[in-house]
């Protein structure tokens, strides 16, 4: 009898000794328990225990820095414990995930599904028998709404020979492996400008196909803002948006999370001192998932396309009038016996063009360094630039009309074309050709340049110089043709008439730029620009009347005529940007990535038109194709959703999409056949057959 009793008692005792933890406690939306890597511990040693939380689907808890809204979990010591409160160390936090709450506005950091938060536990030196840790786990758990929950949990460990708890020990080890490591390389943050630049160097894990994100420990940066990253041969640089206006004091601390192409994530803890960006850590775009980047195209191929583009630029209405002047200059030079100078003039002209295109490339690299990305056509998103370009076109029109003369005067064929003056004149004609060509470059050459804008600076320069060379090539070749003087027509009155005729395309270009200005800065800016044009004309008229005081006044009026409209144009238009040129006749929606996802989930085909009022090709495509009855009817029959992304003003989301698709600027047309998640990128010049043909094949 007693034996049976004893054995029952023994079984009960053994059963009571075995578990090191109690069963999980249901806090409401999570099952919470304390676990430890050992079931039996020695006095005086420190082991890892952990708070294990299994969350309901779609609910999440927060990281040590919750982000914009939220609170991290904490353990509140209860004094029924047999270990002192000081025995519990802080959590070591595994790498968190992003929890977007409101896209672009509210961002949190935390965990979902399951999280194990390890913490060191110091066993007292005088412990014996068992040690017990009782705590209240106090945590905020959220889905759409938030609920603060508490769970009384406890951990009981026997004191004796160390016995590992295999299952829990393995789990804790797995989660400790997710804790950020110390960063091996160097890190600095340049918080002197906007945006802040976090520069990383010397860490072997950084490659161009990794995603990198910085999770701060505090709130110095905006949590929802994107963090564009560019790479260099030595590392990478992230652009961080400051939160508010307070300058950064001391170091920027946080965790860098790197996500590799195969999905693995790991983190580095960093403390970035303030200082300039490291060399060779910026400029190259990331290569993400299969796009393969522009490396495949090859710089040579790109440069070749740019050369062809430059050749075509010769025919653009912006550039053609100026080049006609060049041609007529050659005619007069040939006629006046300076034919042997033609070659040197050709070379000087080419140099002028190349220098100007190098300056344009420099401006683009500069904008990219300052803002992290660049698109062509950005010059036409800035009111004052458009106003000044319009006035320059107008001024050139006046010159072509003959209102005033400049060095390369046609009339005085003999005297002014002395060789040196002629060379200088050729140089400046080259610069002029590049200046008037600049507004035309983006709209007409977008495809050729799309890939190059995110390449290293050297590639940008090479491609732009190739384009410039293409622009200058016809004249360069022409000037080297032997016996040219025999082929060119004789100078005569026709030259003057032709020159005056070309004033009209220039005035039309000015008119187009005014319409762009109207969309950007409002009709009062347009009025002021016209007033500025009047002032300029007055200045020229005044200067021609002769006399030094008149000329001085004229110079002053000229400067005011340029500067004041530019100032007025810097105020943005009061009216909200209307979706350019589509009007209520055709059903169009504003584009956003979310809307595209919604529509493709519904199985509707989607056509996206990336356009701007200042983009001539876009208007051309609208007129010839997109607004035509045939295409509109076909779209309506196929239930195609027509989305418009209006890039008339700067828009970072649209710029990001253009960059993703490797386009330099607008136009860009994306076609999503019914339900497809990745679009087909259509050519820049559309035709009705092409667009209607898309519907047949989907």
């Amino acid at each position: 009898m007693i034996r049976i009793f004893a054995s029952i008692l023994a079984v009960l005792l053994i059963g009571a000794l075995a578990p090191a933890t109690a069963a999980p406690v249901d806090g409401g939306h999570a099952r919470v328990e304390l676990i430890a890597e050992r079931s039996s511990v020695q006095p005086g040693e420190t082991i890892y225990a952990a708070l294990k939380m299994d969350l309901d689907p779609n609910w999440h808890v927060y990281w040590r820095n919750a982000g914009d809204a939220g609170l991290p979990p904490e353990l509140i010591y209860r004094d029924t414990s047999t270990v002192p409160g000081g025995a519990i160390g802080d959590f070591v936090w595994p790498v968190p995930h992003l929890l977007p709450v409101v896209e672009g506005e509210i961002m949190d950091y935390g965990y979902s599904e399951q999280v194990i938060l390890p913490f060191p536990l110091m066993i007292p030196a005088n412990a014996s028998g068992t040690v017990q840790l009782d705590v209240v786990a106090d945590y905020l758990i959220c889905e759409d709404i938030c609920v603060p929950e508490t769970a009384d949990v406890s951990l009981t460990l026997t004191v004796g020979q160390p016995v590992p708890d295999t299952m829990n020990g393995e789990m804790i080890a797995q989660w400790i492996a997710k804790v950020p490591l110390a960063f091996v390389g160097d890190v600095r943050v340049d918080a002197s400008g906007t945006p802040w630049k976090l520069s990383l160097r010397g860490e072997p894990g950084l490659s161009r196909d990794s995603g990198i994100r910085f999770f701060p420990f505090a709130h110095e940066i905006s949590h929802p803002a994107p963090q564009p990253v560019t790479f260099g041969s030595d590392g990478a640089t992230l652009s961080l948006t400051q939160a508010g206006q307070t300058p950064l004091e001391g170091n920027l601390d946080g965790v860098l999370v790197i996500e590799q192409a195969d999905g693995t994530r790991f983190g580095y803890e960093i403390s970035a001192e303030q200082g300039p960006v490291f060399e060779n850590t910026a400029g190259l775009a990331a290569i993400r998932s299969g796009k393969g980047g522009a490396g495949g195209t090859g710089l040579l191929t790109l440069a070749f396309f740019a050369l062809i583009g430059g050749l075509i630029l010769n025919l653009m209405p912006c550039v053609l009038p100026v080049l006609s002047i060049k041609a007529m200059g050659m005619v007069s030079a040939a006629a006046s016996g300076h034919a042997n100078e033609l070659r040197s003039h050709g070379i000087w002209y080419t140099v002028g063009v190349l220098v100007s295109f190098a300056a344009l490339a420099g401006a683009i690299v500069g904008v990219r360094a300052a803002t992290g990305s660049a698109t062509l056509g950005f010059q036409l998103q800035n009111g004052p630039t458009v106003a000044i370009l319009a006035l320059i076109m107008f001024l050139i029109g006046l010159w072509l009309m003959g209102l005033f003369e400049l060095g390369t005067s046609i009339q005085n064929t003999g005297s002014t074309l002395a060789s040196r003056n002629g060379a200088a004149g050729a140089f400046f004609t080259g610069v002029l050709a590049a200046v008037v060509g600049a507004p035309c470059v983006g709209p007409f050459l977008g495809a050729a340049l799309g890939a190059v804008l995110s390449q290293p600076a050297a590639a940008v320069f090479i491609v732009f110089l190739a384009m410039g060379f293409g622009l200058a090539l016809p004249f360069l070749l022409l000037s080297f043709v032997p016996g040219l003087q025999r082929v060119l027509p004789k100078p005569g009155k026709w030259m003057e008439t032709l020159k005056q005729f070309f004033a009209f395309p220039m005035f039309l270009t000015a008119a187009w730029l005014l319409s762009v200005l109207g969309a950007l800065s409002g009709h009062s800016a347009v009025a002021w620009t016209v007033a500025g044009a009047t002032a300029i004309t007055f200045a020229i008229w005044l200067a021609r009347r002769g006399g030094v005081p008149a000329r001085a006044v004229a110079a002053a009026v000229l400067v005011v005529g340029f500067a004041y409209p530019a100032l007025r144009a810097s105020a943005p238009a009061a009216a909200e940007g209307t979706s350019s040129a589509y009007a209520a006749k055709y059903e169009t929606e504003a584009w956003s990535p979310e809307r595209v996802a919604e529509l493709t989930a519904q199985g509707r085909p989607v056509f996206v038109d990336f356009t701007a009022t200042w983009c001539a090709t876009c208007q051309l495509n609208k007129l010839s194709t997109l607004k035509s009855a045939a295409v509109q009817d076909a779209f309506a029959d196929a239930n195609v959703a027509f989305l418009v992304a209006d890039f008339t003003r700067k828009d970072p989301v649209i710029a990001e999409e253009l960059k993703r698709r490797e386009r330099a600027g607008v136009p860009m047309y994306l076609w999503y056949p019914a339900g497809a998640s990745e679009p087909e990128i259509l050519p820049e010049i559309l035709s009705k057959d092409l667009v209607i043909g898309l519907l047949g094949s989907s």
Binding site: D68, V367, F378, L389
Partner: protein, 215 residues
């Protein structure tokens, strides 16, 4: 080598290229209203729970407190819990001192905290709250204008229209009522400083609470 004409042409060309390039680089600036202590508080017009139009400009010359709220949020419930009725006592003290208290609800329709005017008035009555107005902002425009991220998120505006305080209601971010007594109430401190014509010590703090339920 350079005749005067050529020189002026050269200067003109250089100016044109430089101007264009410079404008391109300078075009990175963008302007948006800055909401920070020391800056003017953005003007707004909204509809209150009685259907009346309420504008910030209506209260020029008075101290104004903006309280972003959502009655379902545990952090708001902490401050409205009775006892100690933290928010209600702040509102009552404000009313005594002629401070205009505006509660703003920026929850989108269908989201936690979104209420009709009648429901809002019922809530106010049941909680013994005494805001001057409860502004209904279901589109979230006023919330976004101020950059309201959490409920509660508090703004104190001086009589001259400048923002004096922006951020959390007090110094202990938690949902526990027991933390109210031991926390520093930043709103009360700001109002006291303004009444005594002294500078506000803590002009800005990290707000805590549930995220505002925008669309």
């Amino acid at each position: 080598m350079f005749s005067r004409r050529n020189f002026s042409l050269a200067a003109g060309m250089a100016a044109a290229v430089a101007l264009t390039a410079g404008a391109m680089i300078a075009s990175t600036a963008n302007a948006s209203p800055l909401v920070a202590p020391g800056e003017p508080a953005p003007a707004f017009i909204g509809l209150d729970s009685e259907g009346q139009s309420v504008a910030l400009a209506d209260f020029a010359g008075k101290t104004v407190v903006l309280e972003w709220t959502n009655d379902g949020c545990p952090f708001v419930q902490k401050h409205y819990a009775a006892p100690p009725s933290n928010m209600q006592s702040l509102q009552a003290d404000a009313a005594t001192d002629d401070v205009v208290w505006l509660s703003v609800i920026s929850s989108a329709p269908g989201k936690q905290g979104h209420v009709s005017g009648t429901q809002a008035n019922a809530l106010t009555a049941s909680r013994d709250a005494t805001p001057a107005h409860v502004i209904l902002d279901p589109s979230g425009d006023i919330g976004r204008l101020y950059g309201a991220k959490t409920t509660p998120h508090m703004f104190v505006i001086k009589p001259d229209g400048m923002l004096a305080y922006e951020g959390a209601i007090d110094s202990k971010p938690s949902a526990r009522v027991s933390d109210i007594d031991t926390a520093t109430n930043y709103v009360r401190a700001a109002l006291t400083s303004l009444a005594a014509d002294e500078p506000v010590e803590v002009a800005s703090s990290k707000p805590y609470g549930c995220s505002v339920k925008y669309e």
